[in-house]
């Protein structure tokens, strides 16, 4: 390997990339457990497909747009790395192979759109969702990653290199970005049938807890791995990640106990995720004691913010706005207060004598990413809605989206299960299964509409 290479750092970043990859299935379970049983698979599929689509686009042009040398005022990379074609196996980015760096960054690009899906649970056409992902990562995530993550001695992304906004692992680029896009889509698609009326209990809280456990685990790769080296900075990021998450879990639980009278497990899982989101931008800049504070703030604030959807009347089904937009923004802004100057940046926050300077920069980052994300997501969503249609029919929604969109049932626990279905065929049917529910009964041709 060329000089400057570090085996320890490479090991760390490669394993971190694997950890971040696992977060997308983790998210699938976190979300999938929270929906009703009739749309569990759709929820899982919306996350998994992000692994498929974004990875391919990343190779084709995503990496180049996000991390190619800046081509226009810190807004976008150039096209020198299309297809990852001219990258040598041993070419370095810092102390690690470019391929390792590229894979680590890819995993961020994968999970970001997957996060959005929680806002439109139970009601989005799967093909429309796939199209949305492809467009959204291309025109939103890849450029925004360039703004926020691509440093090049002052000539990199405009937020990080021109403005000086700090975002260590993606509070703005990932979480705020996804959260706001979720808000836009929730508005474009409208509310679920029965919103605020029908109870919509999570169908499997153990699945939610599994998801939160895997997210927490993978998040060490996300945050500590963002040091891109196995060093003291990674150690600090790791520590703050753990501490803020724990403290946000405690914060959320206390809020819930006071407001609703019970410590719920969903609250524990949600609080942990709120903490993970909040510490993401800040983990390299603040102290462990600062992380306890940040965690408490995020836990309580997000626990409160998720009730906004009922008050304001938008159906952000799984609280992507309340957790990711709010948590990401709060975490990014708190850097402006809590940055010690002794971590990954010399900038000091208000509480450490740095004045309002950093806070202002942070606000610019939050504002810019939020606004851009909202507008673009709204446009893409609306165009899809108007052209191919984004939302399934009411019948499909009531019967369950899994049946119509995926021709599957999530579970069959019945000892009697096999007995409950009949005909078996291995050849293509004349009508596609997705429309089978619409076939009318042979002996009642007049009755052409079949309800769920």
């Amino acid at each position: 390997m060329p000089s400057g290479f570090s085996g320890g750092d490479t090991a760390f970043v490669l394993i971190s990339a694997a950890l971040v990859m696992l977060m997308t299935p983790g998210l699938a379970f976190f979300y999938g457990g929270m929906v009703r049983v009739k749309s569990a698979l759709n929820m899982l599929a919306m996350s998994f497909i992000a692994l498929g689509i974004v990875t391919v686009l990343w190779v084709l042009f995503g990496f180049s747009i996000a991390f190619g040398p800046d081509s226009f005022h810190g807004l976008i990379g150039d096209f020198s790395m299309l297809g990852l074609r001219h990258i040598g196996m041993n070419q370095l980015s810092g102390t690690i192979p470019v391929f390792a760096f590229s894979m680590f960054q890819l995993m961020f690009a994968v999970i970001t759109p997957a996060l959005i899906s929680g806002a439109i649970a139970d009601r989005a056409k799967f093909s429309a969702w796939a199209v949305f992902i492809a467009f959204w990562v291309t025109v939103v995530y890849f450029p925004v990653a360039h703004w926020v993550f691509y440093t090049d001695g002052g000539k990199g992304g405009w937020l990080v290199d021109h403005v000086g906004a700090l975002d260590f692992a993606g509070g703005t680029a990932v979480h705020l970005n996804a959260g706001i896009a979720g808000l836009a889509l929730a508005l474009v698609l409208g509310k679920r049938v029965g919103f605020k009326k029908d109870p919509m209990r999570p169908h499997s809280l153990p699945l939610v807890m599994l998801g939160s456990g895997l997210l927490w685990f993978g998040w060490f790769g996300f945050n500590a791995g963002s040091a891109l080296a196995a060093n003291g900075l990674a150690g600090l990021a790791f520590t703050n990640t753990q501490v803020a998450t724990a403290s946000a879990m405690v914060g959320w639980l206390i809020f819930e106990r006071i407001k609703h009278g019970a410590f719920t497990t969903l609250g524990a899982a949600s609080g942990a995720v709120a903490g993970l989101v909040g510490i993401t931008p800040a983990c390299a800049y603040i102290s462990p004691l600062g992380s306890i504070l940040l965690g408490l703030v995020c836990g309580v604030l997000c626990a409160w913010a998720i009730s906004l959807k009922y008050k304001l009347g938008f159906d952000d089904s799984l609280d992507v706005v309340g957790v990711h937009a709010v948590g990401g923004a709060v975490g990014a802004l708190l850097i402006g207060l809590l940055a010690t100057g002794g971590g990954g940046s010399a900038a000091k926050g208000l509480f450490y004598g740095g004045g309002f300077a950093q806070l202002g920069k942070q606000a610019i980052g939050v504002g810019a990413v939020g606004a851009y994300s909202f507008v673009l997501a709204w446009i893409i969503g609306t165009v899809i809605q108007k052209t191919m249609g984004f939302r399934v029919s009411e019948e499909v929604e009531i019967a369950g989206i899994d049946q119509a969109e995926h021709a599957e049932s999530a579970y069959d626990f019945s000892a009697v299960g096999a007995a409950l279905s009949k005909a078996f065929s291995t050849s293509a049917p004349s009508t596609p299964p997705a429309s089978a529910a619409k076939k009318t009964a042979a002996d009642s041709p007049a009755e052409t509409k079949v309800d769920a």
């Binding site: 009531i398 019967a399 049946q403 119509a404 021709a407 599957e408 049932s409 409950l420 279905s421 009949k422 005909a423 078996f424 065929s425 291995t426 049917p429 299964p433 089978a436 529910a437 076939k439 009318t440 009964a441 002996d443 009642s444 009755e447 509409k449 079949v450 309800d451 769920a452």
Partner: protein
């Protein structure tokens, strides 16, 4: 002792809530629910697992039982039929059967007092 009826209804699951409320307003304060699957005119759907296609021809239903006094039975049936109706195939059936004895376990009361 006046006679009683046991009224059984097989309906669409998402109508349960309305049926329950309608019965409640009518003055019926108890019922027993079981999950069921129905086979009838309403078609099921097709599922695909690794290229194998299965026709699921039983559709989820909810089965309700209501014990009612003889005099109320017809009205109860009426209430259920009205509140369960969507007008589309698969709305289900309601039937009633005369009951010989009905007892409340807690008190041993019999007949209408058992309700």
């Amino acid at each position: 002792m006046p006679e009683m009826k046991i009224i059984t209804a097989v309906i669409k699951p998402h109508r349960l809530d309305d049926v329950k409320e309608a019965l409640q307003s009518f003055g019926v304060h108890g019922l027993t629910v079981t999950e069921a699957s129905g086979y009838g005119r309403q078609r099921g759907h097709t599922e695909v697992y690794r290229g194998a296609e299965y026709t699921v021809d039983l559709v989820p239903k909810v089965r309700i039982e209501v014990l009612a006094e003889d005099d109320d039975a017809d009205s109860v049936i009426e209430v259920i039929v009205k509140s369960a109706r969507t007008g589309k195939i698969g709305d289900g059936k309601v039937w009633s059967v005369p009951v010989e004895t009905a007892v409340r376990v807690r008190t041993g009361e019999r007949g209408p007092d058992a309700l």
